[in-house]
């Protein structure tokens, strides 16, 4: 695929990625809350906060870039 055919990553894509990352975190938490096993607990403790942090950073990036476009900051 050449450079011209590649679709640009829009804010909508970034927000969708943030939603997916949050959903994965919540599904991990839900499976831990419903039935705990050592593996689910370990996976949740390692992945949960990391994925949520990534989602928060992505949302923060969208907010920041939008404010910059509007020349608020």
């Amino acid at each position: 695929m050449n450079q011209e055919n590649r679709r640009p990553i829009t804010r909508l894509h970034v927000l969708r990625l943030a939603i997916v990352l949050t959903a994965v975190t919540i599904v991990l938490a839900l499976s831990l809350l419903i039935k705990e096993t050592a593996y689910v607990f370990s996976a949740f403790m390692f992945l949960g906060p990391v994925l949520l942090l990534a989602a928060v950073l992505l949302l923060g990036y969208v907010i920041f870039s939008e404010l910059r476009d509007k020349q608020v900051i």
Binding site: R16, A23, I26, L30, A38, Y39, M45
Partner: protein, 235 residues
């Protein structure tokens, strides 16, 4: 249809809150509303399901109408506020549940130890403590963690190591305790007890407190049965 699904989810959460906590047939006290852990679990499930529904609604909203002021406000709540509550409740529930005998018994390698706990013919220390309810709950964790914050953190890290070794099969049988078993764990309960003071010479206390001699030298073995460590491996 949606209302029915929501109602079913509500009943599922309510069922978790009202689950019978008593393992031994003791009736619940008057006005019983569940344990803290059951409430944490129930409220956590409700918040998690709410968060997933919210995320699905936002996904549809931004797909149809693009990023609007409403979707931005909902996104803030669904990514920055509600998940924090879910993570807090799930962590609290996970921490509590990881201390139970059932949690330790999840790994097949622990089957022998758990069977020994419940074997009425066993005279191992663990079985005596479990069957006489000398320890009320979290039987494995109580004897295999040091006291205070450091003990809790270390026990959790050890548990993580156990999970990894169980997953990769990197362990040898019979199991051997990783660190020498500290007498302080026994003495924290027994140390000031009348029976302990009557039956033990005061001269032995310094040796016990400095781990020069072990409680297990006279009172072992701690565990018996399939996969249980030898007496020497327990020290």
């Amino acid at each position: 249809m949606k209302a029915r699904r929501l109602s079913a989810l509500g009943w599922l959460a309510a069922g978790t809150l009202l689950a019978d906590p008593r393992e031994f047939g003791v009736p619940q006290p008057h006005g019983w509303v569940g344990t803290t852990n059951q409430w944490v679990q129930g409220v956590g499930i409700v918040f998690a399901v709410f968060n997933l529904i919210l995320l699905a609604v936002i996904w549809r909203l931004i797909s149809k109408r693009g990023v609007t002021a409403i979707s931005k406000a909902l996104l803030f709540g669904a990514i920055m506020v509600v998940p924090l509550v879910v993570i807090f409740l799930a962590t609290a529930h996970g921490m509590g549940e990881s201390m139970t005998v059932e949690a330790c018994g999840h790994c097949h390698v622990m089957d022998g130890h758990v069977a020994d706990l419940k074997n009425p013919k066993s005279d191992s220390l663990a079985a005596i403590h479990y069957q006489n309810r000398f320890i009320q709950t979290n039987h494995c964790y109580t004897c295999h963690s040091d006291y205070g914050m450091n003990g809790t953190v270390r026990a959790k890290l050890d548990g993580l190591g156990h999970t990894f070794r169980n997953l990769t099969g990197k362990y040898e049988l019979p199991l051997k305790i990783a660190h020498p078993y500290s007498n302080v764990r026994c003495l924290s309960c027994h140390g000031g007890a009348k029976r302990f003071l009557e039956k033990h010479d005061k001269d032995i206390l310094p040796d016990l407190l400095t781990d020069k001699s072990s409680c297990l030298d006279c009172h072992g073995p701690a565990h018996k049965g399939e996969g249980a460590p030898t007496k020497q491996a327990m020290r």
